[in-house]
């Protein structure tokens, strides 16, 4: 049990220095501390509460932005070229040729950064200016969030958001409790409570005393551990221990607490939630990285070519220098120096080959595709007025390559709305009358003054039975629902307001309420109901907790009539074991239960029994004894409970629907068809998660579901096999034979990760102590090993290499391998950090593109997987190789604009209104984006090579003198204007198939996953085609003009340049027309525009006006005019185009025709061999029924109720024996709102705070 926490504990002992000192109401004290910052600049140790996520300010924008932009190597390179160009000795191109594109690039980027940053400024400002009440002098005044400092005392009222990490000092609630909702932090919508120290709670009762408060908190330095806090409060020379139970975290919301007071411990970026946010770092897509690689490749080849050409010059130079007297090389320099100059001249000349414009255009393309996502009406969620939003504009093509989808459950797959759907009472099913969704014309619950309009379930027959009081079973059914729960009630505006630890309970109690069994109030030992108008008080004799072992909850009550009843609800398996008879009704119910589970409803069995007075009297002392037992109390209590819960009589079954969002099953099935693996990562408990898995068809009945135990067996067997150096492949082969799903828990993962962290040597030796860094470095190391062995568990790994791999690493590697072979993986009870870790694991081991979708702040980590960025600053002991071996964190995060706040959306790359839009986002927009960017790149490389490589050929005929083949203006504008717009069209509008077809055939998506559309092969084909075009264009033109003469001769350099340029331009334009599959008028427009711009601008730059202005800059006077006015030139151009286009066209047609039958064969061959050889240990009885009883796995209010700490209207006596011995009956006082002070510290509560507990220890309390 203790193992699960070891991961955190390990770190705690080491890096927790208790140097954080907070003195209440002493701002001056905190300001004096300075920490060593950058250079001599010292920043304040204690930050204020303002957050500043924006990068630039007005003054820093220009220098910072330029600095950042020139961090990009490409920009630096072009800057270098521009500078080189200004040296006349080597200047081969006019300065405009590269300067204009560079300027455009910088401007566009700067504009985008500016817009982004303005958005960040705005959201920062909104957050920083939120109001809160702060103690100033001796009274509370409204101030802004950003004004808060460490040590300030803050007053928070109901529903306000906690501005910083606060130490709870006092609250208006009894027992100094304060209820918070942490939906924005961990995504759980259930209420939690925090408690102040008794001493502060009772002493600090007014603003005056608060102002005089001068305690000192000493605690650990700010860290990212959400569920841990260790510190102490020193006040009045006494020391009190503090833990996370005393802390209100920034971002949580105060609920059901009129007011509470807190002391700011961590502010601003020091708060836990901000520490958890991780670094903002640039995500880059595979294509983007690949593109950069190719650009580097091109750059290197230009360098090589320049070298070769200058070598050519060097070889020919002697002769040229000596003999060709007319060339004015003769002044002064040696041949070697000349060669070096020529190298640089070629370097400049060929720099136009490095496609700078590609960066500009790809930015536009990313931007445009993002805009299309934003504009898509079919991804607009009307009820909330939420359109889809691409928040990150550089990941679109990744959407077309996703292999893994990690999804949150609550709020993402489900609506997080539990609705009472059906029930079965005494073997009869009562479904909703309004199945088709129509509401009954008038409220059927009008007779009931307590009725809650939220309930959509309505069954007239059942209602009739209830109102007639005819059927005892029905009565007991509803009574049980009204009694047996841990819901708290509150009156607000004469309305009852239920607060439940889980939405399921609330749904059940609400249903009972509408059917006339209204839960009115509760005290520590009594429950008041209004049963069909009649108020009845039940004395609670015992409340038997829910936990995951017991899977049931019981309440033992004494009815007003004096008889004793036990009401039990729980999972079918445990309830049916405990029935006193198994008759027809029970059999019926079982059938119905199966039917319910088939419909993926969350079922709960209800049973009761009447307990004889003497039985109770015998049992009661045992219960008491067990509850005060010091050792092994839980087990003893369980035994006692279990003894009581025997011989039950079945009442019925409730069925609650965890409403899925619209279209979730469809979406998931089409994602699966698109070969995407869907993993559900949820903090919820296993049963619920599995149930949802079935509901959304992620799991199916014929799947083999592996659980943690099975996974362990497999991994163990794999490990053993490995030791014997067998082929590791065999052990995992069975995966392919069956549909396999995996259901694992956070505990299991922790186990895996513990082994990770325990991994000694390199990790421990490294000097950087940050925990996240260690986690990451471990992963890095393993991934390195992984890759050294190859990505598949092949036999390739040699023995020597295998020895280096620790058993843990092997295990982990095998785990990921195993998981990735599963059709579906469900991870339950995982913490936010684990979610991110899982994503990171998969990413590292599978090199796959992953997408995380979630709606709550608990998904933020997963969405950003930002923690990876933490390690970047640390020195990497293993050198750059391991770093380069890793892909940088590059997930797509999708946030749902859902109910759990906007945290997820704010950290996401894409924000959607509904889960089902994911289908369209991936299959349509993602696929298109990928297709577009790939086609764009392919064509762009083609056209760059096709039109600009001619310069190299020309060098052979111009004495290697780096004479440009083209006019400078053509080079400057070619990539910017003449050939740009059609390319842009490809990137923005190209569609190979329509959106409807994309959705219909998710299989098309696989091309992206396999990187089919753009890879080295495609790239080389594009380059080859480009070379072909350039060769044809140059040499055909050359051969033709070689023996022409006459007035129409195009033998002069300028005509030749224009003819070659025109031929290239037209050839690549024809090519783009062949490439584009989506011809619209717009496309025609772009073609006409680019050609038009060529002719117009060429005429303009070759006009007399321009020539008169600067003859040197516009030397090609009237050349195009002359070329076009002569037929032979046109014939040359036509020939060039024909030779360039027709062979390619013919090839394409042949491929197109020949591909069709081959494709069909592939499809026919697809059904793969299926053999039967499941591992024996995995065989198990088929799961007839899936119980997914409706409870939260978090601790509810059970303890609070039994201890009576939070109850305002206590009734009856205090004979509850469930109170631990420390709580003497006389301490359980009345706690009225007017006197909320209670002199008791409940150590019990704080000791067992769920966040701190091991997941396995989490006890479900009803």
């Amino acid at each position: 049990m203790g193992r699960a926490t070891t991961g955190e504990d390990l770190q705690d002992n080491k890096d927790t220095a208790f140097t954080w000192e907070v003195k209440a109401n002493n701002a001056a004290y905190h300001q004096q501390f300075r920490e060593k910052g950058f250079l001599c600049w010292r920043r304040r140790k204690y930050q204020t509460n303002g957050i500043h996520t924006a990068k630039y300010s007005i003054f820093s924008f220009l220098p910072l932005n330029l600095y950042e932009q020139f961090h990009r190597v490409s920009n630096l390179y072009f800057l270098l070229i521009v500078i080189l160009q200004s040296i006349p000795e080597i200047s081969t191109l006019p300065w405009i040729t590269l300067f204009i594109p560079l300027l455009c690039l910088l401007l566009i980027r700067a504009t985008r950064d500016l817009v982004d940053d303005i958005g960040r400024h705005r959201s920062d400002r909104i957050i920083n200016n939120r109001p809160c009440q702060m103690l100033i002098g001796k009274s509370f005044k409204w101030r802004k969030w950003k004004d808060l400092c460490v040590g300030d005392v803050v007053c928070l009222t109901r529903d306000s958001i906690v501005p910083a990490d606060l130490l709870l000092l006092a609250s208006t609630e009894p027992s100094s409790l304060c209820y918070v909702e942490t939906a924005d932090i961990d995504g759980e919508t259930s209420l939690k409570f925090r408690q102040a120290l008794a001493v502060t709670h009772y002493e600090l009762i007014s603003a005056k005393t608060m102002a005089a408060f001068n305690g000192t908190v000493i605690c650990e330095d700010p860290n990212s551990r959400m569920h841990q806090f260790v510190g102490s409060l020193e006040w009045k020379s006494k020391t009190y221990a503090l833990d996370i139970g005393n802390l209100l975290l920034r971002g949580s919301k105060i609920r059901n607490t009129d007011a509470c007071y807190g002391l700011v411990i961590y502010a601003g970026f020091d708060t836990k939630i901000m520490k958890n946010c991780g670094d903002i770092h640039l995500k880059r897509t595979k294509i983007d990285l690949f593109m950069n690689k190719l650009v580097v490749l091109i750059f290197l080849s230009t360098v090589v070519v320049s070298l070769l050409l200058s070598l050519g010059f060097w070889l020919q130079g002697r002769e040229m220098k000596d003999k060709h007297h007319y060339v004015s090389i003769s002044h002064g320099k040696g041949l070697f120096v000349e060669s070096i100059l020529i190298f640089w001249a070629f370097f400049i000349l060929l720099s136009v080959m490095v496609p700078m414009a590609m960066f500009i255009i790809s930015e536009f393309i990313y931007l445009g595709n993002s805009a299309f996502i934003n504009w898509d009406l079919q991804m607009y969620y009307e009820p909330h007025d939420v359109p889809a939003k691409a928040r990150s504009t550089s990941l679109n093509d990744y959407l077309g390559q996703v292999q893994y989808v990690f999804s949150d459950k609550t709020g993402t797959l489900t609506q997080n709305v539990m609705s009472f759907k059906k029930c079965c009472i005494g073997g009869r099913v009562y479904g909703p009358d309004n199945e088709d969704g129509t509401c009954p014309k008038e409220n059927p619950y009008q007779w009931n003054e307590f009725a809650d309009g939220k309930l959509s379930f309505f069954n007239e027959e059942l209602l009739g039975i209830v109102r007639n009081k005819r059927d005892k079973v029905v009565q007991e059914f509803w009574r049980l629902l009204a009694i047996c729960h841990t819901v708290m009630v509150q009156e607000k505006d004469n309305q009852l307001l239920y607060q439940a630890a889980s939405p399921d309970e609330e749904a059940l109690v609400t249903a009972a309420r509408n059917f006339g069994y209204v839960f009115l109030s509760r005290t520590q030992n009594s429950i008041t109901l209004v049963e069909l108008g009649e108020e009845r008080v039940y004395e609670v004799l015992a409340l038997m907790d829910f936990n995951s072992d017991r899977k049931r909850m019981s309440v033992l009550v004494r009815t007003p009539e004096g008889s004793i009843c036990l009401y039990t609800k729980g999972a079918d398996t445990v309830i049916f074991e405990r029935l006193y008879k198994r008759g027809v009704m029970e059999a019926n119910t079982e059938k119905i239960l199966s039917a319910f589970t088939e419909q993926t409803l969350r079922t709960l069995c209800l049973a009761y029994k009447e307990v004889e007075e003497h039985t109770y009297q015998q049992w009661q002392p045992r219960h008491e004894a067990a509850s005060v037992q010091l050792q092994d109390r839980a087990r003893a209590l369980q035994q006692v409970y279990s003894d009581m819960e025997q011989g039950l009589q079945l009442l019925g079954v409730t069925a609650i629907e965890d409403k899925l969002q619209d279209g979730v099953p469809d979406t998931i099935s089409s994602l699966k068809k698109g070969n995407m693996k869907v993993w559900v990562l949820t903090g919820d408990k296993q049963e619920t998660a599995v149930n949802i898995g079935f509901a959304c068809q992620l799991l199916t009945d014929n799947m083999l579901i592996l659980e943690a135990r099975d996974v362990n067996i497999i991994l163990d067997s794999y490990g053993e096999q490995n030791k014997m150096v067998q082929t590791p492949k065999r052990s995992l082969r069975f995966q392919l034979q069956n549909e396999v799903a995996m259901v694992i828990s956070g505990e299991f993962l922790d186990h895996l990760l513990v082994s990770l962290r325990k991994e000694p040597r390199a990790v421990i030796q490294s000097e950087v102590e940050d925990k996240a860094w260690q986690e990451m470095s471990a992963i890095r190391r393993f991934s390195m090993m992984w890759w050294s062995l190859g990505t598949s568990l092949s036999t390739r790994g040699s023995k020597g290499k295998r020895k280096q791999e620790s058993p843990e690493a092997r295990r982990e590697r095998a785990f990921v391998e195993l998981a990735s072979r599963c059709q579906a993986v469900i991870c339950c009870r995982v913490t936010p950090k684990q979610k991110a870790l899982i994503v990171a694991l998969v990413k590292k081991y599978q090199k796959a593109v992953t997408l995380a979708i979630g709606d709550g702040a608990n998904d933020v980590n997963m969405i950003k997987s930002g923690w990876l960025g933490v390690g970047r600053g640390g020195a990497d002991p293993r050198g750059p190789r391991s770093r380069s071996a890793l892909p940088t964190a590059a997930d797509i995060g999708v946030g749902l604009a859902g109910q759990e706040g906007m945290q997820a959306v704010q950290n996401s790359d894409y924000a959607l209104g509904q889960f089902c839009f994911l289908q369209r986002l991936l299959l349509v927009h993602g696929r298109w984006s990928y297709l577009r960017i790939c086609k764009f790149l392919r064509y762009f490389f083609y056209k760059t090579v096709a039109s600009l490589v001619g310069q190299i050929w020309f060098a052979f005929y111009s004495g290697f003198s780096a004479q440009p083949l083209y006019e400078g203006w053509f080079l400057a504008l070619f990539n910017l204007l003449y050939s740009t717009v059609p390319v842009l069209y490809i990137g923005l509008f190209e569609q190979d198939v329509s959106d409807a077809q994309s959705l219909k055939m998710p299989e098309l998506y696989m091309a992206g996953q396999k990187n089919e559309l753009f890879n080295y092969w495609v790239f080389s084909k594009a380059i080859a085609q480009g070379l072909f075009t350039s060769l044809v264009t140059f040499f055909l033109s050359m051969w033709i003009i070689r023996d022409t003469a006459g007035p129409n001769s195009l033998g002069d350099y300028q005509s030749f340049a224009v003819v070659v340029a025109l031929s290239s331009l037209l050839s690549i334009t024809i090519e783009v027309m062949l490439v584009v599959k989506y011809w619209t008028l717009l496309f025609l427009g772009t073609v006409l525009f680019s050609l038009g711009s060529y002719f117009i601008l060429t005429y303009a730059t070759q006009s007399l006006w321009a020539y008169r202005l600067v003859p040197k800059t516009f030397p090609f006077l009237y050349v195009l005019h002359n070329v076009l006015s002569k037929a032979p030139f046109l014939l040359v151009v036509l020939l060039n185009i024909a030779v360039n286009t027709l062979p390619i066209l013919a090839l394409r047609i042949f491929r197109h025709v020949l591909k069709k039958p081959r494709f069909r064969e592939e499809v026919e061959a697809a059904p793969s061999e299926v053999s039967e050889e499941p591992l024996p240990q995995l065989r198990r009885e088929s799961r007839i029924r899936r119980s997914s009883y409706a409870f939260s796995h978090r601790e509810g209010y059970g303890n609070l109720i039994t201890q009576g700490t939070s109850l305002r209207r206590p009734r009856g006596d205090n004979s509850d024996t469930n109170v631990p011995s420390g709580f003497l009956p006389d301490e359980v006082e009345e706690a009225l709102p007017s006197t909320p002070r209670e002199p008791r510290k409940i150590s019990f509560l704080t000791a067992r705070w769920p966040g701190q507990a091991v997941p396995g220890q989490l006890v479900v309390v009803c």
Partner: protein, 352 residues
């Protein structure tokens, strides 16, 4: 739901064909219906063009003579030997005799051809000042730096400056015709007026403004390029053909793309020779000034007539013929492939 059809959310995207990516589009499929006619038509068209080009190119006559003066080759050998190793070479003249058995149909063009001459060398090509050549008085006195080392000569600005101008081709030719053997040689008029591009002659190259009506005065204070024997304003006695607008000069300044190039020297279209060169013996008197042997180049004289598509150019016609035939062949192959797989498609459809 409170949303009626008319109510529109604040953030609702526009429903237009553009934003929803539903623009009306045509998908050009590479279907038989389009591809086959395309290839056949293109093939036929290119064949036709190719034939036309080929025959018109064949119809063109060309007469070529290398007068570089390699040892033992004609009278220019002496000139070549004389100029060997001397810069500038001394003036020398030689002649080329040839006989036309029949009429050389007009209009006849006279070219000179240089080989191995890198007019496309970058250093060479940039060594000029277009501003000066366009007649700007300021540029006349301050030649561009690119012209160095032919920027200043003896402290005076060089006009026209630069390597291109300095290396102006300065051989001159005159053509003599002997109708009958023994008859005196008659000089054939060479029309040297419109040999440059119209735009070059009329727009790009301009003389500086005359000073007192004199071009010489306009060029006062400048030096001719070192290799020139005459200043620029004395290139021709014709005032419309001297200075920067001298046609030979303009032709030369339009640098060639390749190391082997022809430049037009004159047209023969006047008087008796408007129909071409009649049969008989001819002599070309060559003023052999231009040294090419230093870099292994050759100087050629070419007589040629032209057709609608320019000078003799067999390659273009052949290329068209080849491309056209290939198109038709590919078309047939494509047809076969289509027929074959069309059948298969039908079979498959039947199976289904």
């Amino acid at each position: 739901m409170t949303w009626s059809a008319a109510a529109r959310g604040l953030h609702q995207p526009d429903n237009t064909a553009f934003t929803q990516q539903r623009l009306p589009a045509w998908q050009p499929l590479l279907s038989a219906g389009i591809a086959l006619p395309l290839f056949f038509c293109a093939g036929l068209a290119f064949l036709g063009l190719g034939l036309g080009l080929y025959y018109s190119s064949n119809a063109i006559q060309e007469l070529e003579h290398d007068y570089t003066g390699d040892a033992g080759a004609g009278s220019c050998a002496a000139c070549a030997a004389q100029g060997q190793g001397r810069a500038p070479p001394p003036p020398c003249s030689c002649a080329w005799h040839f006989t036309l058995p029949e009429l050389f149909p007009g209009p006849v063009y006279l070219y000179y051809e240089l080989t191995g001459f890198y007019q496309n060398n970058r250093r060479y090509g940039v060594s000029r000042d277009d501003a000066q050549l366009s007649g700007l008085p300021g540029a006349l006195r301050r030649p561009a730096n690119e012209c160095a080392p032919y920027q200043f000569s003896g402290g005076l600005p060089v006009a026209p400056c630069g390597a291109v101008a300095n290396s102006l081709f300065n051989d001159t030719f005159s053509l003599w015709h002997q109708r009958r053997p023994g008859a005196p040689y008659v000089e054939v008029p060479l029309d040297r007026a419109a040999i440059a591009w119209w735009t070059d002659y009329h727009v790009k190259f301009r003389n500086p403004p005359l000073v007192n009506g004199s071009l010489a005065l306009a060029f006062r204070g400048t030096a001719p390029p070192p290799n020139w024997r005459r200043p620029v304003y004395e290139l021709s006695p014709d005032p419309n053909n001297t200075g920067f607008v001298n046609q030979d000069f303009v032709v030369w300044m339009r640098t060639a793309a390749l190391p082997t190039f022809r430049k037009l020297y004159a047209r023969i279209r006047q008087g008796n020779y408007s129909a071409g060169l009649p049969s008989g013996a001819y002599r070309v008197d060559i003023a052999y000034n231009y040294p090419v042997r230093a870099f292994g180049g050759h100087k050629l004289l070419v007589f040629s007539n032209i057709s609608w598509m320019g000078g003799k150019n067999p390659f273009l016609g052949i290329a068209y013929l080849v491309v056209g035939s290939l198109c038709i062949v590919v078309g047939f192959v494509m047809l076969a492939v289509y027929i074959r797989f069309q059948d298969q498609d039908d079979d498959d459809n039947d199976d289904e």
